[in-house]
């Protein structure tokens, strides 16, 4: 889906300082070489299967299906991966690539902390140095993940600028990369940023839809009718969609974090409330004011609390191939609790946004229809924050 200049329709591109241009060109060349290198792919598959625990399960949520009384619901259990989220897929790929390129140090941004934990994990495994930038606000919301990263040997730098959330962590990681390029790979966590990141991250996450396709064909003998995933930058969503893009019968639905609602300023629903802009290396949709100043977005979910969306999602929206729907904090928290009670699965609050939309549409669909929801991560990290949301103060 990518053209040679890293464009997805009008979106994408490489809007970055000249200082970084040779670094992204070097990365693109290395990726182009290794993606078809049998040895690289053998090593990566081994890491996926032996270390991360792939393939992840496609679980038939029978109780949820019965309870909602409509379409059959399957859960793609990325929460069962090592480190508890889909983030590990991309990180193992990039860390291996960086190692092949002779880099000895990984830097990363993180929102909820899942990508930071995954990067720290891969760095520990491969004997690389690791520095993670995390908004100060998020280090408070996700204190447990900060501890996990430090335990894994990474340095966590709280970012105090701007809204002290994910966008500021990305800005700070980009600044750091311009100051130290030769030994450092910026392990970007989502399908965003300058080309070739949106393509590289998508390719490493595409294993999700590759497996869903094989698994559903085996279980049901046909493709699903709907695939639903949450979208911040959009890496688990593009991973879940990718191998279905050419199957027009499969509806692809991305769930954006609406925060307190898309009619308020406290939202992070980029496709629903943003407009086309240029930021963090890419052209895409961004939440911004009339002067192009990036808006201080909000969501209960630190992982979806980002004012932009990956360029391929922007393109899938433009051509009408995927739908992007807003899901509020309230709906997500309800879905978080619902899945816990109904299936005994505590999803990440990010993934709960996707569950919430499935709860809305499943009852309206016939019983012979199939919905696949990607559970991008597990919700242990969110328990304290959700308890607070419900007015209960627990100590982690």
């Amino acid at each position: 889906m990518t053209n040679p200049n890293g464009r997805f329709g009008i979106h994408g591109g490489q809007y970055i300082p000249e200082t970084l241009m040779n670094a992204v060109i070097e990365l693109e060349e290395a990726y182009h070489h290794y993606k078809s290198d049998p040895e690289f792919n053998r090593e990566l598959t081994k890491l996926f299967n032996e270390y991360a625990g792939r393939p992840s399960r496609l679980y038939f949520a029978e109780k949820m299906t019965t309870d909602l009384g409509g379409a059959k619901i399957y859960l793609k259990r990325e929460d069962l991966n090592h480190t508890g989220a889909h983030k590990i897929n991309n990180v193992l790929g990039q860390a291996l690539l960086a190692k092949k390129m002779g880099k000895t140090r990984l830097i990363a941004e993180t929102g909820a902390g899942q990508h930071g934990v995954a990067t720290a994990t891969a760095a520990a495994l491969m004997g690389m140095e690791c520095v993670v930038y995390m908004g100060e606000e998020d280090t408070i919301r996700q204190a447990l993940n900060v501890y996990r990263m430090r335990l894994l040997g990474a340095e966590v730098i709280p970012v105090k600028t701007g809204t002290a959330t994910l966008k500021d962590a990305v800005s700070e990681a980009m600044r750091e990369w311009t100051s130290r390029i030769s030994d450092t790979h910026y392990c970007l966590g989502s399908v965003m940023g300058p080309h070739p990141f949106p393509t590289i991250v998508r390719d490493f996450q595409a294993v999700i839809s590759k497996e869903i396709k094989e698994q559903i064909l085996q279980k049901e003998g046909r493709l699903p009718d709907v695939v639903i995933a949450c979208v911040g930058g959009g890496s688990n969503a593009i991973g879940s969609f990718y191998h279905f893009i050419k199957n027009d019968s499969v509806r692809l639905i991305g769930c954006e974090a609406a925060g307190r609602g898309i009619d308020t300023f406290e939202t992070a629903a980029t496709v629903n409330t943003g407009r086309v802009g240029i930021f963090h290396g890419m052209k895409s949709y961004f939440c911004q004011d009339k002067d192009g100043q990036i808006a201080p977005v909000y969501s209960i979910s630190a992982g979806l609390d980002y004012p932009g969306v990956g360029p391929e999602h922007a393109y899938l929206h433009d051509i009408g191939r995927a739908e992007y729907v807003p899901v509020t904090d309230d709906e997500a928290v309800n879905a978080f609790e619902y899945l816990a009670r109904t299936e005994g699965i505590i999803p990440a609050i990010e993934s709960a946004h996707a569950v919430a939309h499935a709860i809305k549409i499943a009852p309206t669909m016939e019983k012979n229809k199939i919905i696949v929801i990607t559970i991008s991560g597990r919700g242990d990290k969110d328990c304290a924050a959700i308890a607070r949301y419900r007015g209960e103060d627990i100590h982690e």
Binding site: I16, E18, T19, N22, I278
Partner: protein, 256 residues
């Protein structure tokens, strides 16, 4: 066509960067005036952006102060139109791609021509993406300034050949901000530039002292100073212009 080259016709150029609206536009006007009166050859006016990814903490701070003071692109355009009545030397805007894109490239760049802004510096618009704004810049006679970094290496010739106005050489890796030492082999970069263009080139990032400015101007055609000036604004606020005047005089004297 470009007026920018006149900035390099009186010996080595001293280029001063000032963020519009930090802390308010009256102070910006007085600061520009003080810099011009004390020998600045070109003024780089920053239009603040909420998330300036190429800036260090000092200029980030200026952007935030200006934005929280209620600055907008339209206010800056009106301000520059007034400012132009008293300032004859070339002036360029330094901002981020989204500020131009969001305003509408056609409307933004045609306004630049109307208010006599001579060029545009966009640190997040590399050679590969310049088509985004270049045709419009050509249409209205506004120079799109190219940057060259310590990591540009094999790209220098390509960039220099198609450059306009002047070449902005980034002295060091990393973001803007004062540095104790500049280690890049800038003379080699300048040599490649000279082989590929007749345009002047100036060095920026990390320059704050008279010794540094002299060293940089000796290698190239001029020096750009930003964070050191913003520091004065940060320290003295509305009282900053007279201190900026003194500072610019010291720096300009060092390269005479």
């Amino acid at each position: 066509m470009s007026k920018i080259k006149s900035a390099f016709e009186n010996g080595k150029a001293f280029i001063a960067f000032i963020t519009c609206g930090d802390p308010d536009l009256e102070t910006t006007a007085a600061a520009v005036k003080a810099a011009v009166d004390n020998g600045a050859d070109l003024i780089e006016l920053g239009i603040p952006f909420s998330d300036p990814t190429a800036e260090g903490p000092v200029i980030q701070g200026a952007n935030l102060r200006a934005l929280s003071g209620g600055i907008t692109t339209d206010k800056i355009f009106s301000f520059v139109k007034e400012l132009r009545k008293n300032v004859e030397i070339p002036m360029v805007f330094m901002t981020y791609s989204n500020v131009v894109f969001s305003y509408g490239a056609e409307k933004f760049i045609s306004t630049c021509r109307d208010i006599e802004i001579d060029g545009l510096i966009l640190p997040d618009l590399p050679f590969e993406e310049k088509e985004e704004f270049l045709p419009t810049c050509h249409k209205y006679g506004v120079d799109l300034i190219s940057l060259i970094a310590p990591t540009s290496e094999n790209r220098i010739a390509m960039i220099a050949k198609e450059a306009e106005g002047f070449l902005y050489i980034v002295s060091s890796l990393g973001v803007t901000g004062m540095r104790n030492e500049i280690k890049t082999d800038l003379a080699s970069i300048v040599k490649v530039i000279r082989e590929n263009t007749d345009l002047p080139c100036a060095i920026g990032f990390g320059i704050s002292t008279p010794e540094q400015v002299k060293k940089m101007a000796d290698i190239s055609d001029g020096a750009i100073v930003g964070s050191a000036i913003i520091k004065i604004l940060e320290k003295y606020g509305k009282e900053a212009p007279k201190h900026i005047g003194e500072y610019v005089k010291t720096m300009k004297d060092a390269i005479k």
